[in-house]
Symmetry: C2
């Protein structure tokens, strides 16, 4: 098990084999055993396997080939709709249409999603999270018929791997762990934490390809740039308002 966690690599190329129903069910059963706020299970998994629907989802994920190639695309949603519906049917007043409960629901959803991914890898499946979900969450909601009170928070593609990528590097563990209280970084410490990655062959290749002087500028000028970041922030906030998660 410990090996399983530390050997995770994201898989972006899949064999065409479908996931047997009983295996898929096992992943979902593992997902729902994750911790959940007040045992409210404020999430929904939308499991899309139909080729036409995957084609409709593909542009929401910038047409990355893995979306149509993976046998299974799972859109993970924060969901206060189901619980609120139950409350109203019992004459109870559900005050969960606000930001706190978006956070609770998103937390529930993400912990369950990670359980699902680990169960997938335990079954020799590969997974990849699609961060593009936040960029186009409103369009995904339309494709999947999400009702008010349900918003996508991430997407997972799942299938049998058709590649064996190397383990990606991570910052030294000390970069992300603080003992007792947060200990702020000195400039020298920041330099040191990133030194190995900056000196790598991969980084050198990226700098050449991009004609940029350092790795940080690849992030800020190529990968995640200001205008996109602001546009995504605004569109996701607009979606939260539209979906009834922002009444406070």
């Amino acid at each position: 098990m410990k090996n399983l966690l530390i050997k995770h690599r994201s898989i972006r190329k899949f064999r065409p084999n479908p996931i047997p129903d009983e295996v898929l069910r096992e992943l979902l059963e593992a997902a729902v055993r994750a911790s959940t706020c007040g045992n409210m299970q404020l999430y929904s998994f939308v499991v899309t396997r139909d080729a036409e629907l995957k084609q409709l989802l593909a542009p929401c994920h910038f047409n990355q080939p893995m979306v149509t190639q993976a046998p299974c695309v799972i859109t993970v949603c924060a969901d206060i709709h189901r619980f609120s519906m139950w409350c109203r049917q019992r004459g109870a007043d559900p005050a969960y249409d606000n930001f706190a409960w978006f956070l609770n629901a998103a937390t529930d959803a993400l912990l369950a999603a990670q359980n699902l991914c680990i169960a997938a890898e335990a079954n020799d499946l590969g997974i990849c999270y699609l961060g593009t979900t936040l960029y186009t969450a409103g369009e995904i909601a339309r494709v999947l018929n999400l009702p008010k009170g349900v918003v996508p928070v991430t997407t997972i593609v799942v299938g049998y791997p058709d590649e064996k990528p190397e383990l990606t590097d991570r910052l030294p563990l000390d970069a992300v762990v603080h003992y007792e209280q947060y200990r702020n970084y000195t400039s020298a410490e920041i330099d040191e934490l990133w030194a190995e990655r900056e000196a790598s062959d991969l980084t050198k290749r990226l700098l050449e390809e991009n004609g940029l002087p350092n790795l940080a500028q690849i992030f800020t000028q190529r990968r995640y740039v200001r205008d996109d970041n602001l546009a995504i922030s605004r569109s996701y906030l607009a979606l939260l308002k539209e979906a009834g998660f922002f009444n406070q």
Copy 2:
């Protein structure tokens, strides 16, 4: 491994035994192997073991005894500070002080947190997530000296279990899974999904104790009530603004 996931129960009573350093390190190593947006690792774990600091954190978690009893309290934070500092030292302009990157960082943090919890349980440790983190995130930030760009998203208490709670129930799997697209619920389906829980002895006991006619009203009138939900929403949004996560 599969058994491990489906056997999770939250642990709220701990033996005094400390967690050996090498075991703690193993949990943290498992955490950082979780998927992370662009390999940016936009999170920090603040591991608090000092008795005095745990005493300061306890009121932030409504003085639940497990906070001082557990050998280890891990505050899981969304962190754009470290990455932004690196960018600035490289002459790059980090535009991550906005809502999209709060979401990316919180997602990174929660996936890593769940890995940590699973690794903990694989090591015979018990864990409990503290949802109270969102209620008092500003105060937690002060206790832990979090700089601008770092906000708590959840807290995990970890230690050797001193109780063996029953597995909690869950809704039927069909309640949370939709195939192809979201299929909205009929009223009858909602009744059916909650039927078993509503008929349980636990529910009957709760209704008697609370003098309320049904379980939904225990949620809306006792556990998670409107005024608190709105206050938490507002205070967390205020914290996001103060911490520099809301410039869009």
